[in-house]
């Protein structure tokens, strides 16, 4: 491996990290919205959300990426590789995040909601001031866990032509006829990225612990 090869691996890392972060940034709030639809039992929508989550949780990321990238242009929505990859990642992670948020919402004590209503809060205000500040702390470990899972399945987006860490390593291996060194370098890079996410979670938790006395 030469200097140029290391550079292309780093470029792949930037692609993996930035696409995953945007996917997470879209998928976490979308998951919360889906969970709220199910939690509040909106008549037909709640059923649709349940079906969406069930199907997406069973769909491999590779298959979803191929479906999004090839089928959308076929029904008249042209899409480039990067938006296709982002849509794939966001859809996939939103289904899993929905279940994490929903678990926290289902465990939320009913009495607090009644108290908020009794104090004259609208449902939206009650959600913002009472429910959300508590459930995001409970959901944090699950959400971070799902983020690391997303990063580990992100190489799937290479099928729509995006050069992430894994794809960059394969290219270097094919050019140099020595696949082992780039694969080991890629392993180290994933370790760093995943470790970074876990560390971020820890530091948020210790910060909360110091500020509120509990995580």
């Amino acid at each position: 491996m030469r200097a140029y090869d290391y550079l292309s691996l780093l470029q792949g890392t930037a692609v993996t990290v930035s696409l995953s972060l945007v996917g997470i940034g879209l998928g976490v709030p979308l998951g919360l919205a889906l969970a709220l639809v199910r939690w509040s039992g909106v008549p037909v929508l709640a059923r649709l959300v349940a079906a969406y989550v069930s199907v997406l949780r069973a769909t491999p990321l590779v298959t979803l990426a191929l479906l999004v990238f090839f089928a959308l242009p076929n029904v008249g929505v042209p899409i480039d590789p990067v938006p296709a990859a982002l849509l794939t990642l966001a859809m996939n992670t939103s289904a899993f995040n929905c279940e994490i948020w929903r678990a926290a919402l289902n465990d939320f004590p009913r009495a607090q909601l009644d108290a908020a209503t009794a104090a004259g809060m609208t449902p939206w205000l009650g959600f913002r001031r009472i429910v959300f500040p508590q459930i995001w702390r409970i959901s944090l470990p699950g959400l971070v866990n799902e983020m690391t899972l997303l990063i580990k399945s992100s190489p799937a987006i290479a099928v729509v032509g995006i050069v992430d860490i894994t794809r960059a390593a394969v290219r270097i291996g094919a050019q140099t006829y020595e696949p082992l060194p780039p694969f080991l370098a890629a392993t180290a890079l994933y370790l760093l990225v995943v470790f970074g996410f876990v560390r971020a979670q820890r530091s948020i938790e210790t910060h909360l612990d110091r500020k509120f006395g509990f995580a």
Partner: protein
């Protein structure tokens, strides 16, 4: 749209062959990964420190890398060290090695939270070593982990789709082949998604069934 689906229906044998391959790969990988996970779990819970550290390193390493990277290492990098597979076997090996690490960690968790008395009773009855593990420790922890193991099997099914990239003729690969030949992307991939969904539902039902049986026998 209807037309697209009728093209896919006309080539249903190909899709079913792919589905069959996905089922075979997932089942074989689950059984083999469970078998391989057992000794790894024993190593994770071993008395000797170096054994424990080695197993921990292996398991944590696997849990940090994407499955596709391991599949590439098995398929492209091992041949340079003189170990050669065809792509089907390479795919199966990658699935087994990768998921054995996850299953070992699941079993370790259940073992660590198992009541001490249970194991002590086994020791008092003269069980030790492998026999203690096989007869006293393993059965209850496997039953306790059933739902999590079911989830892991669903993960195996979904991981197997990555193997299309190393040209294993599984479900996604066959759907891809049909779509590229007749340009029916929507119908081909939606059919694949439905088949994956059915397979995952079956696993969930099977796990629930085993759990009900286990509870009835207790």
């Amino acid at each position: 749209m209807i037309n697209e689906f009728s093209i896919v229906w006309a080539h249903k044998e190909r899709l079913l062959v792919g589905f069959g391959n996905t089922v075979t790969l997932s089942l074989l990988a689950t059984v083999a990964a469970l078998a391989l996970a057992s000794p790894i779990t024993m190593a994770l819970m071993a008395q000797r420190r170096p054994v424990r550290a080695l197993a921990r390193g292996l398991v944590d390493g696997m849990r940090c890398i994407p499955f596709l990277l391991l599949a590439y290492i098995v398929y492209y990098a091992l041949p340079t060290l003189g170990i050669r597979f065809d792509n089907w076997t390479a795919g199966l090996c990658a699935l087994v090695i990768y998921n054995a690490a996850y299953i070992a960690e699941i079993l370790r968790g259940a073992w660590a939270s198992m009541p001490r008395e249970h194991i002590e009773a086994g020791l008092a009855f003269g069980f030790s070593g492998l026999k203690l593990y096989r007869r006293i420790i393993l059965p209850p922890i496997v039953l306790a982990c059933m739902p999590v193991l079911g989830n892991q099997m669903i993960q195996i099914i979904k991981d197997s789709a990555f193997l299309t990239i190393i040209a294993v003729p599984e479900l996604t690969h066959e759907a891809s082949a049909i779509q590229s030949m007749y340009y029916v992307p929507f119908a081909a991939f939606v059919s694949a998604v439905v088949l994956y969904w059915v397979l995952c539902r079956l696993v969930e039902l099977a796990v629930a069934g085993v759990e009900r049986r286990a509870r009835a026998r207790r």
